[in-house]
């Protein structure tokens, strides 16, 4: 979107998400290990979301977000290495990421810029924050249960992902609405 450079980190996140899901599906079909990808994906995903949300918060909080990105990257790498050994699905990493992003989204939602948009539903940041909150709210529950259920019954665990699917669907719907509102509109028409 021309003139909407602030959405670039979000576009990169979405591209990475698509690429990763395709790769994970391909590895899954070929019965190869694919969980290791999520260990790398979590810190990258969090960092890119932070870059996007940093544009919407005051400079005072920007510094905290940068610090949280570094701490999360280090903590995520440590958990993956010592606890999951890069083998099973990193539920704790993604849940931590979710909670952190939800905190940032809550702040963004409560402090949306009222100067640029007439109504809240016309504000792209509202839809994007809402989408992120719904998605991470859904995965927060699923990932926690999945980790336990996967040890008992792998088939039942897979079924849990219908919650994530719904949350995903709502998330992308919110993103689409947000991106549509971000398209600059002509305020006048030119008659030839």
């Amino acid at each position: 979107m021309k003139g909407q450079r602030r959405f670039l980190p979000l576009s990169i996140v979405l591209t990475i998400q698509v690429a990763m899901e395709f790769t994970a599906a391909w590895l899954f079909v070929r019965k190869m290990e694919h969980e290791w990808m999520y260990h790398i994906y979590a810190p990258i995903d969090y960092a890119l979301f932070c870059i996007y949300f940093m544009q919407l918060v005051s400079p005072k909080y920007r510094r905290w977000i940068v610090v949280s990105t570094i701490i999360f990257a280090l903590a995520s790498a440590s958990i993956s290495y010592w606890y999951y050994h890069f083998e099973s699905f990193p539920g704790a990493n993604i849940n931590t990421e979710g909670v952190l992003i939800c905190i940032i989204c809550t702040y963004v939602l409560l402090n949306l810029d009222v100067r640029r948009y007439d109504a809240i539903y016309k504000n792209p940041d509202f839809w994007i924050s809402l989408g992120v909150i719904i998605f991470f709210g859904g995965t927060f529950f699923t990932n926690g249960v999945y980790t336990y259920l996967n040890e008992i019954d792998k088939v039942q665990a897979k079924k849990l992902f219908s919650i994530v699917n719904t949350a995903n669907l709502i998330q992308y719907t919110c993103y689409i609405i947000g991106f549509l509102w971000a398209i600059p509109r002509r305020s006048s028409i030119q008659l030839s």
Partner: protein, 255 residues
């Protein structure tokens, strides 16, 4: 068993989490609506103040033009007319002197008229900025001959929004008028300090000072200045000066 308990806890936790998220969204919408209304009110107040400031500056400009026409241009032209009326054509030497005198006076009048047109404040602010407009205002006060004004600028001038500058100018103009009318001062100092984060404007005089107890109810001018400062996000402060008189400080953030 342990696992199922943990699952129950997770479900309860997730439910609480979801409820909190829904509450956050509802509060966000409600808060946005309130903040939007407050913002619209501020915008309306700003527009109203801007319009009022424009009108008041215009009124002051008219007064200044009228004073200039009556006290200066009118007098010079009357004198020039007198010179021309009393021309004695038979006395060539005297006539030449009077004619030259009349020409000088008319030249002075033309210069004064140019000054009048150049001193239209609202125009100066949008064309040249706040500092030249304040310089002009100080010059007008100096011309009155009541007090000795000093105007100083410190630091590199920062460009302020035209509307903001206009309101600042009106605050200063009102403060200066109060000093001229009521302070019985002989010295007036206007200083502007430009820095990276803010513009600090101080107006000080050596007059009789300001009695807060006597004027707290009737000081509509003071209230106007405070309100105007608030609307542009500035801070207005009025304190008694150390020796005598009053010191007014207007702090305007540049961002």
């Amino acid at each position: 068993m342990g696992n199922s308990t943990e699952i129950v806890y997770t479900v309860i936790l997730a439910t609480i989490f979801f409820v909190v998220l829904i509450a956050v969204v509802i509060i966000a919408v409600w808060r946005y609506h309130n903040r939007k209304r407050a913002h619209e009110k501020t915008l309306m107040e700003f527009d109203h103040t801007l319009l009022q400031s424009r009108l008041e500056i215009q009124e002051e400009t008219f007064k200044s033009i009228s004073r200039e026409l009556h006290d200066n241009i009118g007098q010079i032209l009357t004198l020039a007319k007198l010179h021309l009326n009393t021309l004695a054509l038979e006395n060539t030497e005297q006539s030449r002197e009077r004619l030259n005198g009349a020409i000088d006076m008319i030249t002075q009048t033309i210069q004064s008229l140019r000054d009048v047109s150049r001193n239209l404040h609202a125009d100066i602010i949008s064309r040249n900025g706040l500092v030249p407009a304040l310089e002009t205002e100080i010059r007008i006060i100096e011309k009155l001959g009541i007090l000795h004004p000093v105007f100083r600028v410190f630091g590199q001038p920062v460009h302020l929004d035209d509307n903001k500058s206009l309101i600042i100018f009106r605050i200063v103009q009102e403060a200066l008028q109060n000093i001229v009318k009521h302070a019985k001062a002989t010295i007036l100092e206007v200083n502007i300090h430009y820095s990276f984060e803010q513009v600090r404007l101080t107006i000080s005089d050596n007059g009789t000072g300001f009695n807060w107890e006597e004027n707290k109810d009737k000081g509509s001018g003071l209230r106007n200045m405070t309100d105007r400062a608030r609307i542009i996000g500035a801070h207005f402060d009025m304190q008694p000066a150390a020796a005598a008189g009053t010191i007014i400080t207007l702090t305007i953030p540049t961002s």
